[in-house]
């Protein structure tokens, strides 16, 4: 699993990237009450805002860490957005993207690097 400076996580399986937001981001937002999911078939460039997560406090964009086409979205978040808080790296995934270029992730961090990055903040 890789992590970005904007606090998204990415899991690569074959040509598909599963994307969510990190525990740190989920905790900072508080319990989520709404997730605006992208549409299947939408194509995005790297770093486009492709989803929105909202807590009672505020709304935040989620930036896509790899360019590609959305092939699946986590519909469970429609009825249970809090899955992102409670099962951040499993059931709290947001979308799966068929990516075009894995190079997009060259700046992404592994777990140890991300932890260090959080400590430096």
């Amino acid at each position: 699993m890789k992590y970005t400076k904007d606090h998204e996580w990415v899991k690569i399986e074959g040509d598909t990237a599963t994307i969510g937001i990190t525990q740190y981001a989920a905790e900072a937002l508080g319990e989520l009450v709404y997730v605006e999911l992208p549409k299947i078939g939408n194509k995005y460039n790297k770093h486009d805002a492709f989803a929105v997560v909202e807590s009672s406090k505020s709304a935040s964009d989620v930036y896509i860490p790899v360019a590609g086409e959305v092939v699946a979205v986590n519909d469970n978040l429609n009825s249970a957005p809090e899955l992102i808080n409670n099962s951040t790296y499993q059931d709290g995934w947001i979308a799966k993207v068929k990516f075009t270029n894995l190079e997009d992730l060259s700046e992404a961090m592994d777990e140890a690097e991300y932890k260090k990055y959080l400590q430096s903040k």
């Binding site: 508080g30 319990e31 009450v33 709404y34 605006e36 929105v52 909202e54 807590s55 009672s56 406090k57 709304a59 429609n78």
Partner: protein, 367 residues
């Protein structure tokens, strides 16, 4: 930035602090806003540090007459220890602030007003103050709201054995003694729609009081975030958002603060005219029918045309849908109308609703 006497206590209890009205205040504790809201709403007790609000005494022989000049309420009708929600009006009939004024006796009243308006209100009151009146801020006192269905049960445990909190009616104040003997002012008031109290207590006693309350398993500290969602569900207005210097009480739908016997208050001309002839905009509730979170500033449309903007909005943890309030033309818009709220350029289906989205559980006035 200013802080309350409980600043360090909030931090030790895991609060996330934010700036609010010039004060460093807890917006939430570790449980988060949703859980704090539900805790307060669903049978437990939430305690809120609202010491940033202004507390004042106003005293003198002509104080009743003066208060009936600066507000639309006739305070000669108040009983001793009765608390009244009202507003300060400006010369144009707009609202300077909303506040609670409690009669202690014919010559002395206790005032609690909004933190963000403290200076403005005090300047206005002093500017209009008759020479024989004394108006002083109680800077040495903190204010704690204790809200929820078990509030009476919990607060009673901290009071001297002789006190009977059950006798204190809704919108009334009493002087009570703590077990240690020190006196506190207890008002059966609040801004959550739950039964509960607001306690005015000396700064040097407040930390122990707060921790003694916190020690009960039914009690959790609650931040400003949940305070806002709790009041939004009740349709209570928040000054600076839902009320301002240009809105009148008639537009805001709180014209019940006007006493029939008071026609001489500042700004009465516009206000009484609106009461008789109606208004072009009236505060109403908006309830989303589809998912999304409506927030302050969101445009509201009917048949594709803009009819207003939300002055407050958010997610209702009780209804599990987003709600808000705004001002609309009562000739054009009525309860039940299908409208839409624009969120990030998308129209989300909504309807105009009664502004009290959730029924209040405040104790009925006894007398």
């Amino acid at each position: 930035m200013k802080s309350t006497a409980l600043n360090q206590t909030h931090r030790l209890q895991g609060a996330k602090m934010v700036e609010f009205a010039g004060y460093d205040m807890p917006v939430q504790y570790s449980d988060g806003m949703l859980k704090e809201h539900e805790w307060t709403r669903q049978g437990n007790v939430g305690i809120f540090d609202v010491s940033h609000m202004g507390q004042f005494f106003i005293e003198g022989v002509d104080v009743v007459k003066f208060l009936s000049t600066i507000t639309p309420t006739d305070f000669s009708l108040s009983q001793n220890f009765q608390a009244k929600y009202t507003v300060l009006t400006n010369e144009d009939g707009g609202i300077i602030d909303d506040l609670i004024i409690t009669k202690i006796n014919d010559q002395k009243f206790f005032i609690v007003l909004n933190a963000g308006c403290k200076e403005k209100d005090a300047n206005w009151i002093r500017k209009n103050l008759a020479n024989n009146l004394k108006f002083e801020e109680l800077t040495e006192r903190s204010l704690i709201a204790i809200q929820g269905q078990k509030a009476q049960e919990v607060l009673s445990k901290l009071l001297a054995n002789s006190s009977n909190l059950a006798d204190l009616a809704y919108m009334h104040l009493g002087f009570f003694k703590l077990k240690s003997g020190q006196e506190i002012f207890v008002s059966r008031t609040g801004y959550t729609g739950e039964d509960g109290f607001e306690v005015s207590i000396e700064n040097n006693l407040v930390e122990k009081f707060w921790l003694d309350l916190s020690a009960h398993s039914e009690v959790k500290p609650i931040g400003l975030g949940a305070r806002d969602s709790l009041r939004l569900e009740m349709g209570y207005p928040l000054y600076g958002h839902d009320l301002d210097d240009s809105t009148s009480v008639v537009e805001a739908g709180i014209s019940w603060v006007i006493s029939k016997t008071n026609t001489g208050f500042i700004g009465a001309k516009r206000v009484l005219n609106e009461k008789t002839n109606g208004v072009k905009r009236k505060r109403m509730g908006v309830k989303l029918l589809d998912r999304g979170v409506a927030r302050e500033g969101c445009e509201v449309r009917k048949d594709g045309k803009k009819i207003g903007v939300l002055t407050s909005g958010g997610f209702s943890p009780t209804l599990k849908i987003s709600i808000g309030q705004g001002y609309f033309d009562p000739l054009q818009v009525k309860i039940g109308d299908q409208v839409s709220v624009v969120i990030r350029d998308r129209e989300i289906n909504a309807e105009i609703s009664s502004i009290n989205f959730v029924e209040a559980k405040t104790k009925a006035i006894k007398k």
